[in-house]
């Protein structure tokens, strides 16, 4: 075991440096946000506790990504999980928080078990926990064991990242934590799992089999679709954002899995390109998911509710939050010229060029992967139209939403900071891609002579027929056209009046109530209504169930009619509940061993000692 020394924590690795950057760039605004967010929510002691835990959390994550020793990696990993558990159950009065915390801690420990097993298997061959020693010892490992190590790493890190079907803790844990912690957890903590995959699989283990990459891509595509479909029907803002994290991890892993495939197929430029796409999406997701969670925190602070069915009209009351949420929504829906668009475009290009350079099964496989990426992009956009539209636009649906006020400066600052980053990372795609190219070349140990930039504003893919992308040009063109149109429409043509009046709504004016109860406005579209087409289209997967209840006064007169729609949580019901049931049954049977009597217990020890003595000669 290597000695305890601080040198083992120093980020001397480009990969560690990148992740340190990701961690810090999200933690900084989140911490600033928490100044305003926690102010009147909790007692000052609890706020101090929250600060200590948050800082501890950030330091543990920094420790995870900077250590170059497997043992310390595990210690820091466990520390990170524990501290985040305490942060999830921070609001300990709510029973939902406790339940969320329990699910979280169980799932994260299952993951940690697999990671520990994998690291110990590596240690078995390398006799040292140092990463470089492990890397050198990989040749000695038989290929069956390598496959096993890879699977354990995938399951272990996948639990933390939120790959389907190991994702069930995400929608419980992320909503329950305070918003700034949710943003750090969703933006950064699940990325440390990706760091683990990159470190252990790419750098230490090396890609040895083609089916590794294929498995990752399949799991990624499934995660994308499952995540976004569940997000579409969610009406709790944070739970919706948590499901989107599952989807985006899928997109990141699409890039990384494709890179694994291309590495094994020996197409170095494409391997680099897909890895760049995956890493770019990683940092983009950190930025816009962090931003969206902070905005959700503002909404919660202003209206004390995260149920979008009860919000509405907030754009007039909270303009900054609305603008930042809009930028976040556009970024996550991959709309140009923001950052989400660039990373999704790069992923699509990588998949396309891969399909071009391969044949047969892989061409079809990569084509289907690209189609699933397009589907999730479309569904994500739909989901965020719903989320932004119902929350911020049209009229308020409850009194609380009516009385919302804009949040204090510290919260505004964080949100604006992250929005600016989202825009910048979209426009400054070229320097970022150059940097990520160097990083990817380090990770995959390939050296490319070409860079991915034509000039400072245009990206170019290094293929036989180069393809270009220039986000600044798109933005400039947009602004030019808007300016020209504005000039023509509003200035050049003769002046005309713009009147403000009631919504036409095909003439149904009376849907807007004039007297109490004024909420909700019966004419407005609801979130449930908005998502109904999706619920019906994906009903084979969502398995919606309807319950109606009619209370009748007499045969002809109904006094109340209740219509309840719910969807069955597929993974909970069909995978986890049976496993839990089995475990409980086994536990009940094993319980009979515990008789409660001291004599029996000592007899167990006695019997064990006798058995050990008998068999000791065999060793």
């Amino acid at each position: 075991m290597s000695a305890l020394c601080f040198a083992s924590f120093f980020p001397c690795d480009p990969l560690s440096l990148f992740f340190v950057f990701v961690i810090l760039i999200i933690s900084f605004p989140s911490l600033v946000f928490s100044i305003g967010y926690l102010k009147n929510e909790y007692s000052s002691r609890k706020i101090a506790l929250s600060w200590i835990l948050s800082l501890g959390f950030i330091f543990s994550m920094l420790g995870v990504v900077t250590t170059n020793n497997g043992f310390f990696f595990l210690i820091m990993w466990e520390l990170m999980s524990l501290i985040s558990y305490f942060l999830v159950v921070f609001d300990s009065k709510k029973s939902k928080s406790i339940q969320a915390g329990t699910i979280y801690i169980i799932m994260t420990h299952i993951g940690t078990t697999f990671i520990t097993a994998a690291i110990l298997m590596l240690f078995n061959y390398s006799k040292s926990f140092d990463f470089i020693a492990m890397k050198n010892a990989v040749e000695l490992i038989p290929s069956g064991t390598k496959n096993l190590i890879f699977l354990f790493l995938l399951i272990g890190f996948g639990t933390k990242a939120g790959i389907v079907p190991l994702h069930i803790w995400l929608p419980y844990a992320h909503p329950q934590a305070p918003s700034h912690i949710s943003s750090i957890m969703s933006g950064v903590m699940i990325k440390t799992a990706i760091y683990g995959l990159l470190r252990f699989v790419f750098i230490i283990l090396g890609i040895h089999n083609l089916w590794w990459g294929v498995l990752v891509v399949i799991l990624a595509a499934i995660s994308c679709l499952v995540g976004v479909i569940y997000a579409l029907i969610e009406h709790d803002m944070k739970k919706l954002l948590a499901y989107h994290s599952v989807e985006n991890i899928g997109i990141i892993l699409l890039g990384i899995g494709a890179s694994m495939i291309f590495l094994k197929m020996d197409i170095p430029s494409l391997a680099i390109l897909s890895l760049i796409a995956g890493l770019y999406h990683l940092i983009n997701h950190a930025i816009f998911k962090g931003l969206l969670f902070l905005c959700a925190g503002s909404i919660y602070k202003a209206t004390e509710s995260l149920d979008i069915e009860k919000l509405g009209g907030l754009i007039k009351k909270m303009p900054y939050t609305a603008a930042c949420f809009l930028i976040g929504s556009m970024a996550i829906s991959a709309l140009p010229p923001l950052n989400g668009f660039v990373s999704e475009w790069l992923t699509l290009q990588a998949l396309f060029l891969g399909a071009l350079n391969s044949s047969g099964f892989f061409r079809i496989f990569l084509g289907i992967a690209a189609a699933s990426l397009a589907l999730t992009g479309g569904l994500a956009a739909a989901c965020f139209v719903k989320a932004f539209g119902i929350t911020f636009l049209s009229l308020s649906r409850s009194k609380k939403a009516e009385e919302a006020v804009e949040v204090p400066f510290s919260m505004k600052f964080s949100m604006v900071f992250l929005s600016l980053l989202a825009v910048l990372f979209g426009l400054l795609a070229v320097p970022i891609v150059k940097y990520l190219s160097h990083l990817s070349q380090y990770i995959t140990n390939i050296h490319l002579n070409t860079s991915f930039a034509l000039n400072n504003f245009t990206l170019i893919t290094q293929s036989k027929n180069p393809i270009y992308l220039s986000t600044p040009l798109i933005l400039i063109l947009f602004l030019l056209i808007i300016a020209t149109a504005y000039f023509i429409i509003r200035r050049a043509l003769p002046f005309q009046k713009v009147l403000i009046n009631k919504t036409w709504d095909c003439g149904y004016y009376n849907l807007t109530p004039r007297c109490e109860p004024r909420f909700p406005n019966r004419g407005e579209y609801t979130a449930t209504g908005f998502s109904k087409p999706f619920r019906l289209a994906f009903s084979f997967f969502l398995l919606p169930q309807t319950k109606t209840e009619k209370i009748k006064d007499s045969f002809y007169h109904t006094t109340s009619f209740k219509h309840e729609i719910s969807t069955t949580p597929f993974f909970n019901k069909y995978i986890y509940s049976p496993i839990l049931y089995l475990i409980m049954k086994t536990a009940k049977v094993t319980r009979k061993l515990q008789s409660g009597s001291i004599n029996v217990y000592i007899a167990y020890i006695f019997a064990t000692i006798l058995l050990l003595i008998i068999f000791m000669e065999k060793f």
């Binding site: 319980r591 004599n599 000592i602 007899a603 003595i613």
Partner: protein, 212 residues
């Protein structure tokens, strides 16, 4: 180890303790056993002219022959326990069991630590025997005091092993072990007293509520 009269008496006391029916007899047996262990150590000290062994024998005598039996007798008087030691199996069967354990320890201890020189019985087998009988006492006796004495007998066995196989443990560690034993007996005594005052009995067979 030199098979002298002391060792024989020690083995006899072990058999005695396995079959006895009353608590005071148990304590007396323990007393005699500890006495002869200390005498054995003393004779070893004389033989090898080791200063440390003298002091160890003396401390052993003080602690295990005087202090601890006194404490235990005081405890028994305080809780006014029934003299019955609460055997779960009859004395005859206990004796047979102890004999089986003796054979077992002779057979297997041999394989673990082979005999050296002219000794017929290894030190390890005797110590193992004493330890196993100590554990046996803890299992097949109902009263809590039997458990304490069982623990002490186990410690005796281990002490013999250390004294013989390793030529005596370092002095400092021996002192620490003695101190540990003293403190644990006191604490256990307090516990038994508390159990008695709460449950009005110290029958461990009836204390089965601690289950998951």
């Amino acid at each position: 180890m030199h098979i002298n009269i002391f060792v024989v008496i020690i083995i006899l006391t072990v058999f005695y303790m396995a079959t006895v029916k009353r608590i005071t007899s148990l304590i007396n047996g323990f007393l005699v056993q500890s006495l002869f262990i200390s005498l054995y150590v003393f004779s070893e000290g004389v033989l090898t002219k080791n200063m440390e062994l003298y002091s160890v024998a003396f401390i052993l005598f003080l602690l295990k022959v005087i202090v601890i039996p006194l404490t235990l007798r005081q405890l028994v008087k305080n809780i006014k326990a029934d003299e019955n030691a609460g055997l779960l199996i009859s004395p005859v069967i206990s004796l047979i069991f102890a004999a089986i354990l003796a054979g077992f320890s002779y057979e297997f201890a041999d394989k673990i630590m082979p005999l050296q020189g002219k000794h017929l019985i290894g030190a390890f087998s005797i110590s193992l025997f004493i330890t196993l009988v100590g554990m046996f006492l803890m299992i097949f006796r109902k009263k809590a005091i039997s458990q304490i004495i069982g623990l002490l007998v186990m410690e005796n066995g281990l002490f013999l092993l250390a004294a013989e196989a390793a030529g005596g443990l370092p002095f400092f560690i021996e002192i620490t072990i003695f101190f540990d034993i003293l403190v644990s007996v006191m604490i256990l005594g307090v516990f038994v007293y508390r159990i008695n005052s709460l449950f009005t009995h110290i029958d461990t067979n009836k204390l089965t509520r601690l289950k998951g």
